[in-house]
């Protein structure tokens, strides 16, 4: 709910004024800060081979020249990288110094397992003068903090946004949707107006759909947990479940229960979908070939009864708790998340988690080159301002909780259960997860 979010944001602001203050304080002693302190050392970075790290690593030589540290990069696709990380960490190995992490998914899980090195003290200690720790999105910093421990520094900002076809909307006499009800009404009209196009497409694949579903749940004013118990059977929870599944069942493509970003982007890009609710990261993929460049608009998902509470997450750089050289590793982390580097990444298409970079004139110039980029950034500004990082349950067993959420939605899409039973079955399993210690 809007009230809760703003309280959360105020708490975040208060809580991290402390960190910000300490960063500023240490900046005063930055005269002692020496980039070359760990010259000659080797830092190993386990990277997820996505556009974020790819953009970062194009500047790898800059880092090595600046610090004299040799950077060894081990890059894998996301799922593989996670498998490798889990194995290395389970073995308490010092092989990895720095790794990329997704706090919204695994943050609490990894933190409980003790895999992250504590970073707040490092931000107080050896920090470059221009690091501007307070300039990082406080919401994302908070999302990376568990039990008072700062576990990662944000690298980028991303979240699901609504891509829609302005030309098809115009053809069918539709205004851009401002509320969830508008989305559904538009979908209904589109179905009648243009039969060759899928009105609405979003994630239906069980482990993938909580990413987009959470956004709708929050917009409607629902919450995953209330009074320590799973809350999917609340009126808002049920409304979210029904609305999301109805949009996909009645207005989505056949086989939507298998749909994740591969198919959604392919469907929208080929012109066969009028509205696609998918990650902001998929912009480049969607625009490939240039067909959708001029007829696409992007907005944060339209408001529900609780307004717009878009899902806003980001990858983070973390230092391994088992690293033998956390200080040198920290140098890489702070370089990678510094304003200068994030500005370079921004003009490579990586939405920055810093408002200072987002309003930087060079970046704005890049944004202004294409109307679709302007819209993309505008949508991301909404995410930055109002976003929530809650994808799935805010518990240690977050990945497992997504199974139950996904199952409930799929039960409804496939018409296998009435909504009351679907949410009850999910709540039962989720209560057991919440109770796990």
């Amino acid at each position: 709910m809007r009230v809760r979010t703003s309280i959360a944001i105020s708490l975040a602001r208060a809580g991290f004024a402390v960190i910000a203050a300490s960063v500023v304080a240490s900046a005063a002693s930055a005269a002692e800060f020496d980039w070359k302190k760990f010259q000659g050392k080797t830092v190993t970075f386990l990277a997820n081979n996505n556009p974020v790290s790819q953009a970062l690593l194009t500047h790898k030589a800059d880092f090595e020249k600046l610090t004299g540290i040799t950077l060894k990069v081990d890059g894998y696709q996301e799922q593989q990288m996670r498998q490798r990380l889990v194995t290395v960490m389970n073995a308490h190995s010092d092989e990895v110094d720095v790794f990329m992490t997704l706090p919204s998914r695994e943050g609490q899980q990894f933190a409980a397992a003790g895999w992250y090195a504590e970073l707040a003290s490092m931000t107080k200690g050896e920090v470059a003068a221009d690091y501007d720790g307070a300039g990082l999105s406080q919401a994302l910093v908070k999302a990376g903090t568990f039990d008072g421990k700062l576990t990662s520094m944000p690298m980028n900002l991303e979240g699901p946004i609504l891509y829609y076809r302005t030309d098809i909307f115009k053809k069918c006499g539709l205004e851009p949707p401002a509320t969830i009800a508008d989305v559904e009404a538009a979908a209904k009209k589109l179905k009648a107006c243009d039969s060759g196009v899928t009105p609405f497409v979003s994630r239906g694949l069980k482990p993938a759909l909580p990413y987009t579903f959470s956004n709708m749940l929050h917009n409607i004013g629902g919450s995953y947990i209330a009074n320590g118990k799973s809350n999917l059977c609340s009126p808002q929870g049920k409304e979210a479940l029904e609305t999301y599944s109805r949009l996909l069942r009645d207005y989505g493509p056949p086989g939507v229960v298998n749909y994740s970003f591969y198919q959604i982007s392919a469907l929208y890009r080929s012109g066969r979908a009028a509205m696609a609710f998918e990650s902001s990261n998929e912009l480049r993929t969607v625009m490939e070939g240039g067909e959708r460049l001029k007829d696409t608009a992007l907005i944060a998902f339209p408001a529900g009864k609780a307004g717009q509470v878009p899902t806003a997450i980001g990858w983070g750089m973390a230092v391994s708790a088992y690293s033998k050289q956390p200080d040198a590793a920290w140098y890489f982390v702070q370089w990678a998340t510094s304003p200068a580097v994030q500005k370079m990444m921004a003009v490579q298409g990586i939405a920055p988690p810093r408002s200072s970079v987002a309003s930087d004139p060079e970046y704005r110039k890049w944004i202004d080159e294409e109307p679709v980029r302007q819209q993309w950034q505008a949508a991301l500004d909404v995410l930055a301002a109002k976003g929530s990082s809650e994808v799935g349950y805010p518990i240690v067993a977050n990945p497992e909780s997504r199974e139950f959420i996904g199952q409930a939605v799929q039960d409804l899409i496939l018409n296998q259960k009435p909504v009351d039973q679907a949410c009850a079955d999910a709540d039962k399993g989720l209560d057991a997860l919440i109770a796990q210690k």
């Binding site: 997820n48 081979n49 996505n50 556009p51 790819q54 060894k72 990069v73 081990d74 890059g75 894998y76 696709q77 996301e78 593989q80 498998q83 490798r84 194995t87 290395v88 389970n90 073995a91 190995s93 092989e95 970003f261 591969y262 982007s265 392919a266 890009r269 080929s270 066969r272 990650s279 990261n281 998929e282 480049r284 993929t285 490939e288 070939g289 067909e291």
Partner: protein
Amino acid sequence: MTGAPMDDNWIRRLNTLQLIVAGVIIMAPVVWMALSSFKPSFEVTAYPPTLLFSPTAENYAQLFKTTPFFSYGVNSLIVTLGSAGLGLLFGIPAAFAVSWTRISWPAILTLAARMAPGTLFLLPWYVMFRQVGMIGSYTALILSHAVITLPIVIWVLLPSFDNIPRSVFEAAQVDGCSVTRILWRIALPLVGSGIAVAAILAFVFSWNYFLFALVLSNGDSKTLIAAAFNFVGEGSTQWGVLMAAATLIALPPLVLAALVQRWLVSGLTLGAVKG
């Protein structure tokens, strides 16, 4: 009396027809993959599927630009040849012994590694090889992949060795041949087609196996198959480049298979032992 020439012709035509049907079904997706490697990514998922298109080498260019394809390829080759070789080295004698004595447990034991999910070995092997500082070495990869190739070699060769009439061995024993000599001089030449099949399969399985390389290799010894995964992911799905990577990755096994075909269809069979 045997069938009239007309029957033979009819049978041959029927066989050719079956061959064509099988060929189309089997090769159509493979051809699709190879053709798609010359399409820009957005066209791979275009609908209706395009048969005619203007080919581009952009995918291959992108592949070589972003991936140290050649060095990964060398890594894969070393690991695969090493593990296939090790599998043949240990597997051929073992298959022979199991076949002769009809005692199966060694063969079943080697298969045990294939009965457990591969992920079962990840953490223990990582710990094991880390203890001896072998993470990232070719040895670790070759040894772990040999666990895959060994049972394949043994089980493919078992029926081949079983097919050799015992009388052949008995005759050699009467002549005073040692067991090893019998294997080397007599049995081995008779199982040429079996060895060809075993070699192809050992190569392919080791070549395409990515799970162990995930934890046992590091940046320097990464294998080619890991490269294929780089093109599937949020924000980075490049269908065209994926198909290009796939086409290139599938080439070495195909080349090997084409080379080894000879032993598969040659006359190195029991026919030579008649009488």
